[in-house]
Structure formats: C-alpha cells, structure tokens
C-alpha cells in the first residue's frame, strides 16, 4: 500500500455481525481468483457491484471479465460488491457500516467508480439502496465533485431512463474496451485532484466516448404526457449514443481466472462463452436484438479455456454459454475435444440454451453421459402461427423430434418454456401450449414408464430495442386469465406439470421496462417504502409499485398496457443498439402479418443496421448452417404446422381421465 493513502478495512467491524446473519460466507470474499489490488492516489478504482445477493451476482460473467481487465492495468484497481441481504443490511445501518467490497472490505465510498450490472429491471430499487448504503447521495444531481461516479451497464441499460436520476454514466454494449477509455479519463481527473466544479466537465468528456451515455447531458421535453424530444445540452455531446461492440471475441479470452466461490451460488460451474450475439431474430428477445452481430470464439480457444479452466478451478462441470449454443459452428469439435480429454476426469458439460431439434439432443447425449436427468427446451409459443409471429421458427416436427430423441436416449424429464400474452395471441394459441405438453408426454410413454414434462409459462413483457417495443402488454388480469385457462385445461393430466411466473411481477417489470425519466420518482418511492429485493417473491409487492405510480400521478395503462404508435418518441430513441428504427418497425409489421424471417447469419442481410452501422461482420467459422439447424435455416417452413409423428388424439374436453 503506498504511504499516505487513506484506506479502510471494515472487516473488524463486520466480523462480529456475521454470526448473526444468514449465510455469512457470502460476505467474506476468499474466492479462488479473488484479487487484492493496491490502491493509491494515481490508481483509478472501480467497485463492480451486482444489485442482488452474492449467490445471484457472483457468477455474473460481465462483472468478472471487467474485474480482471481493470486489475491487469497498473494504474487501476477493481474490487466487487453485492447487495447485502436484509438481515445484514439492518445491522449495517444500525452500526453505521457502509456498503463494502468483499475483496478487502473497503468502504464503497472510497472507490472512484461504483459500477452496477443491471440484468433485470426489478433490481432498480436495490441499485438505489446500494448507492444509499455506500453513503453516496442517491440523486446524481446532488453528488459532490469527489463523490464516486455511479455507472451502470448490462442489458437493462438500453432503456436507462427510469434510473437516469440515480446514475452518472451508462455503458451501452460490450464493456471490454470502453472501460479502458473511461478509466483513462477518470484517472486523469483523479490525478488532477477531483477539484471543485470539475465533475460536470468530466461527465461531458465521458459522454463523448463511444458507448457512454451521460443522462445529465440531455434535456428531456414533454408534450403533455408524451415525450417530445431528448436533446443534448451541449453541441459536443452526441445526439444519438451508439453501443460499443467488440469485433473479435478471440481477442478477449476472459475470464482467465474465473472466480470460484467458497459457498453455494447459482451456476456454480465453469462457464466459457462460445459466442456473443444472436441472429435467430426472435422478436420478443431483447438479448438477441441488442447483442448483434454474431461473434464466435475460435473453437481451439474454447477448448483451451475449458481444459485450463477445469484444471485451475477444480470444477467438474462446464457450461458453454451463449444465446443458442448449438448454433456455435465449432460445437462438434469442442464436444469431441472435451469428451476425449482424459486429463479432466469426470466432467459434465451443460448447454444452457438448447436449440429445439434432434441434432442438439445428440450433442447433449454425448456430453452428458453420466448425469441424464432433465432437458430444457424453449418453444416459447404453442402454435406454429404464434411462433411465426414471434419469429421462433420451430416446427412441431423439430420439437417432437427433439423430445422423442431425448426420451429414447434415457432422459425422463423435459422442461418446456413458453411465453403468454404475445401479440395477436388467441386462446387457441394459449391452449396450444397445453397441447404441446400433452403430446410430449405421450411421445415419452413409448420409451419411459412415467415420462414427465414441466410446462413453464411466463407473462410476456415487451422490451425496448425490439420489434415488440410498440406492443401494449397484456393486463395483469388478462395474463392471469390465460394462466387459468392452462390450469383448467391441464387439470388431471398425468405427467404434465404447469408452472407459471407471477403475473404481478410481469406487471412491475412492465412498468420499469419501457418507462421514461418520470419513473425515477416511482422507483424512489418504492425504495423509500422498503421495496428492495423485488426479484424475491417474499419481498415483492405489486401494490407498492401501483401506489408509487398513483402517488406520482402516473398511469399504469399509459406506461404498460397501451400500444405505441410509429411516430411516438420512445424514451430510448436517442440510444442505439445498432438497429435501425425502420427495420424494427418493419419487423413489427411482419410479425402482425405472421411472416417469419430466416437467420441472417447464412441468408441475405435484412439491413437491421448492426453490422453495417459499426463496420463489422458476423464472425462465424462456417459458411453453412450447422447440421440439423432448425428455426428457418434452409428448411421448408411451409410444413411448420404438420405433425409428423403419431400422437394420441386429444381427449374431448370434459372427458376426464
């Protein structure tokens, strides 16, 4: 530690509190891969924070990548923090202990930048709570020059307007390169003493970095309840903020030292990202829209990251992550390498996002020789018509082929994910979900004594920067009615279990998903009334959100349920994920026409803007679609509705069982 640097270790004050709280190991750090960086007056320090519990936040790959990249710089230091659970928070507030890093238990307020990953809108109140626990004013306008900068990144930042009041800067897109640029500028400002009156100038400079959005540099005008314009306050601040995109994933083989926690977390396994981006074009899927184009990691690099990662961590399970891992053109080589690598012993490989076809099941069978318990598929909608609307071009043939292949190879349980409340959805479409579930169980009976299918249904929440951004979300009552429809239809059906997401949570998510800056007061209201950990059913309260809207004179109908028109200024129109607005509008029209689009990785370009706008291209190793590619790649889509396998006829309603 360089002399003269004030740094505080909160551990001695925290330690006596830990025997009094649940799961104290989440506050100790001590992970394999943890870094103990040196801080100093010339060192720019980042506190990467996940605004939910350690168990949820630790595995977050984005934060781990940035943590390593920053700590590789001699002039920068990175540590991590997570939202303390309510029991510890109460004790911290009682004793005046601020939010701390888990690496060296340094107070959050001593960092130059506190950067949050935002993966879910319902964590917004936790963001505010963490800033407050850090001892930093929650409103960016109230912060003093020397206060930490509050930064956010992650998928939610494609509409950061609801949290614009609370953050100083927003990063759009891939973080690997842009954090270096931010570190340079903040470092210079820090070395110059963070003098009074210089914060505004720093923020203005930051706003010129590609991929950085500084909400306070923009003026928002309203025309009645509608947005009129969001315009820069200075001529050198960009009118439209473009996301940052890393051209070649092969240049960024991170994390090199994945953190291995000492206590249980979600996704407690090695994770290797095989590609970023997806061009399947599912219209409901924000991740697929905002991460274009497709950039694959070289297969040999993937294989090396797997074998080195397993040896270093001691994990016996690796997950190949992406938005659709079976689409990775190097999948067969990576599978062969991993399976033949005797040095790593008893290893299982997880494919978290299975494509729905028999080829994918074949790969899964090869990978999961030992533990064959359950497989998960996401057909997303119950009828071919509905799947054309959402552009999830899975034919029934693909689904039944995948399911039959899985049952015949020893799997006993399937999980099928669906959305309800999609545009143009009729009750026939909704009931199609039950039908698919029933048919899958029926297929399973040929191979298994008691096959089981879990049908999991979530209420659709339209997301910014997607073709469905104009769609009025189904009301909570309507979503509940559809869930009831399915419950009634599946009552007494052997082998099919129905699970559904809380429709009230979909409503709260809808409030924040497409909101504007007026939502800041709503989020603050919910936070001030104890509404933290809204992702947790035991703490979630939809009434609090509705009360907060009403208290601020805002209308749930206007924010959530109404369809937007083509000429409406959307709160995120000044932010760009590379997609042209007219492409998105055309895709929305195509959806209503029930027109599916093939994957542009291997077929002609639809000029969405993601490649051309940034001068980069899809990075795929193969010019042809991978074997068995469904979802509209080189298959005849006119047969989508056909059912090619023999199935039991559906029992007439009321026939009982």
């Amino acid at each position: 530690m360089p002399t003269g640097t004030p740094t505080t270790d909160l551990w001695p004050r925290l330690e006596p509190l830990l025997p009094q709280v649940q799961k104290p190991a989440r506050y100790i750090g001590c992970e394999d891969g943890m870094q103990v960086p040196e801080h100093g007056p010339g060192t720019t320090s980042w506190l990467f924070t996940y605004p939910d519990t350690y168990e949820i936040g630790l595995p977050n790959a984005g934060l781990q990548i940035l943590y390593e990249i920053i700590n590789e710089r001699p002039d920068a230091a990175a540590e991590r923090s997570y939202a303390p659970w309510v029991d510890l928070e109460a004790l911290m507030r009682r004793d005046g202990i601020p939010l701390f890093s888990v690496d060296t238990h340094k107070p959050a307020g001593e960092f130059d930048i506190i950067a949050f990953n935002l993966s879910a809108e319902l964590t917004y109140t936790n963001l505010v709570n963490c800033v407050d626990l850090a001892g930093v004013p929650i409103h960016s306008a109230r912060r003093a020059d020397a206060d930490p900068l509050i930064a956010v990144g992650g998928h939610c930042t494609y509409n950061p307007e609801p949290i614009a009041d609370f953050v100083d800067l927003v990063v759009l897109g891939d973080g690997e390169e842009v954090i270096g640029d931010i570190t340079d500028l903040v470092g210079e400002w820090k070395r110059n003493g963070k003098n009074a009156g210089t914060r505004e100038g720093l923020l203005r400079e930051l706003s010129k970095i590609e991929g950085v959005y500084v909400p306070s540099m923009y003026e928002v005008e309203y025309d009645g309840e509608f947005l009129a314009a969001v315009t820069p306050r200075y001529p050198d601040v960009p009118e439209k903020v473009e996301k940052r995109t890393v051209a070649d994933l092969g240049d960024w083989p991170y994390p090199k030292q994945q953190l291995v926690p000492m206590t249980e977390v979600v996704h407690d396994r090695l994770a290797v990202e095989v590609f970023r981006g997806c061009t399947r074009g599912c219209r409901f899927c924000q991740a697929g829209m905002i991460t274009r184009p497709v950039r694959e990691r070289p297969a040999e690099q993937v294989s090396r990251m797997i074998s080195e990662g397993l040896q270093r961590t001691g994990y016996d399970e690796v997950s190949l992550t992406s938005l659709s891992t079976a689409d990775f053109s190097g999948i067969e080589r990576v599978v062969a390498d991993t399976v033949s690598d005797q040095g790593v012993g008893q290893v299982s490989v997880a494919l978290p996002s299975l494509r729905v076809d028999a080829f994918t099941v074949g790969i899964a069978a090869e990978l999961q020789r030992a533990r064959r318990t359950g497989l998960t598929f996401a057909p997303e909608a119950g009828t071919w018509r509905m799947r054309q609307v959402i552009n999830k071009l899975i034919r029934e043939e693909d689904l039944y082929g995948a399911v039959e292949s899985a049952y015949s190879q020893g799997w006993r349980r399937m999980k099928l994910y669906f959305l309800t409340g999609l545009p143009t959805e009729t009750d026939e479409d909704t009931l199609g979900i039950a039908e698919l579930g029933r048919n899958c169980v029926e297929l399973g009976r040929k191979y298994q004594k008691s096959p089981s299918v879990t049908v999991s249904v979530g209420g659709f929440v339209p997301k910014p920067q997607t073709p469905f951004q104009w769609f009025g979300q189904n009301t909570e009552e309507e979503l509940r009615r559809k869930v009831e429809l399915l419950k009634n239809d599946l009552r007494g059906t052997k082998g099919v279990q129905l699970k559904w997401h809380d429709t009230r949570a979909s409503l709260a998510e809808g409030i924040t998903s497409r909101g504007d800056r007026r939502l800041g007061a709503v989020i603050e209201y919910v936070w001030r009334h104890g509404g933290t950990f809204q992702e947790w059913s035991e703490h979630f309260s939809v009434d609090l959100w509705l009360e907060a809207l009403a208290a601020n004179g805002l209308d749930v109908e206007w924010y959530v349920y109404r369809h937007r028109t083509e000429d409406e200024v959307l709160p995120w129109d000044h932010l760009s994920a590379g997609l042209h607005k007219d492409f998105l509008w055309q895709d929305w029209r195509d959806a209503l026409e029930e027109l599916g689009l093939e994957d542009c990785r291997w077929t002609p370009c639809y000029d969405c803007g993601a490649c051309t706008g940034y001068g980069i291209e899809h990075v795929v190793a193969s010019a042809t679609p991978p074997a068995g590619g469904s979802q509209g790649t080189g298959v005849d889509l006119s047969t989508g509705g056909a059912v090619p396998v023999m199935l039991q006829p559906r029992a007439p309603i009321g026939a009982g069982s």
Partner: protein
C-alpha cells in the same frame, strides 16, 4: 486405499458451512490430481467422508476427512509433501496438517469420534461469573436443553456429555473456557452448553463468543483416548494395505 487428512480452519473462511467445506475439498482434490475413487451409477460422486460437522462460524485445529483412492492408480502415491500440496489448493485459512493411510475396515469418522475439546472465548463476562456458571454446571445432576427436532420439542440432558469443563486463562474483555464434550449418541453444540448454564449466558455473550475446536478424540476399546490420525497405530493394522 483410504487416506485420512487432518486440516485446520481459521479466519474468514470459518464462515463457510460444512457443505461448503465438502465442495471446497472436492475441488481441491481434483486440482491436486489425486486419483480419488468415484461412486458408481448415474451421478458418480467422489468417495469422501467427513467427520463431525463444524458449526458455521467456529474455527478448528482438528478437522478430518477420509478419501478413498483408486487402488491401482494410487499404488505409487507419495505421501511425503502431500499435505503441503493440498494446502496449496485450499483457500487461505484452511491448512492440511497431516495425511495418513487408514484401514478401510475401520469405522467411519462419524461413528468413531467420541468427544471433542473446545476452546470457547466469551466476551463481556468476568472470571468470577464464568467460574460460578462452570461450577454450577458441573455440580448439576442434569443439564436440560430443549430443541426442536422434526417439528417436535425434544428435551435432552447434556450433563453426561460434559466430560470436562474449566475456566482457562483470562482474555481481553472476557474469559476462555476449555470443554470436552461428548459426541455419542449426538454431538453437543457449544451454543447448547452455554444456554444450559444457570443463569444462561445472555445472547450478546453467545454472539460475541469465538469458538475453536482443539481436538477430536476416539476412545478405543481398551479405554485409550487417541487422535483420529493414530487409529491404525492403535489397532496395529499394517499401514498401506486396504
């Protein structure tokens, strides 16, 4: 072939649970490339067997686990230096302090261990108060505690399991007790002992206490009290045969 590994647990890592420690060992053993034997079946698990659970938050000088190795691959295994290789793969605060080969026919650690010696540092209590509590507990005919088990209130008498109890040297702001507590038919928790004192030590004292397991003991058939690492010597079983 079965290895018995002794290890200690100190500092921040003491806040990990028994299950956490099991996972930490599974990963450490894989990284050491020890030829650990796996169970058969759909979900092969490494054959590890842990001794008595250590409560989350307690430290220890005497933790043990048994590891079954694949006999063929383990034939040339060099035990020298293995403890330090293992320590290098463990998190800060956990140290492998010894490795011996034990006979696989020996009873498991859970069955074999009969008592543990504990060092209990209690803050905010003076020596005379502590001495009175200890004297009272030792003089009592029974020490009744009530606990919940499967939704029912169960009462137990701890007195037969309190094998020794002394007030040790004073520490800053408190006292240190040394206790040997029995583990059969069930292990007495340190917190139970403190709550069974008359009057019970108040909650703040218990929360502020720092507990260290000094030893685990096995009483042999001939009444000797031995360390779990010396079972083979006590039983004169040939070393290295399994």
């Amino acid at each position: 072939m079965r290895l018995r590994i002794a290890f200690s647990k100190h500092g921040k890592i003491r806040f990990t649970s028994h299950r956490d420690v099991a996972r930490i060992w599974e990963r450490a053993l894989r990284r050491t490339n020890l030829p650990v034997a796996y169970s058969e079946g759909f979900t092969p698990r490494p054959k590890l067997s842990f001794g008595l659970a250590l409560s989350t938050g307690h430290e220890s000088e005497g933790e043990y686990l048994d590891v079954d190795l694949d006999p063929e691959q383990a034939a040339d295994l060099d035990l020298d230096g293995l403890a330090s290789h293992l320590t290098a793969q463990l998190p800060a605060g956990m140290t492998a302090t010894g490795v011996v080969v034990v006979d696989r026919r020996m009873p498991s650690l859970q069955q074999a261990v009969t008592s543990c010696t504990w060092q209990i540092d209690i803050l905010g209590v003076d020596e005379s108060t502590a001495q009175a509590a200890v004297d009272g507990a030792l003089a009592a005919e029974e020490l009744i505690v009530t606990r919940e088990r499967k939704g029912k209130q169960v009462t137990d008498d701890l007195r037969p399991l309190v094998l020794s109890l002394d007030v040790d040297q004073p520490i800053e702001d408190g006292v240190r007790l040394i206790a040997e507590l029995g583990t059969q038919p069930r292990a007495v928790r340190v917190s139970e002992l403190l709550s069974a004192f008359d009057p019970p030590l108040d909650e703040q004292c218990v929360l502020g206490s720092r507990v260290l397991r000094l030893h685990q003991w096995i009483i042999t058939d001939d009444g000797q009290r031995i360390d779990p690492m010396s079972v083979d010597a006590a039983a004169s079983a040939p070393v290295g045969v399994s």
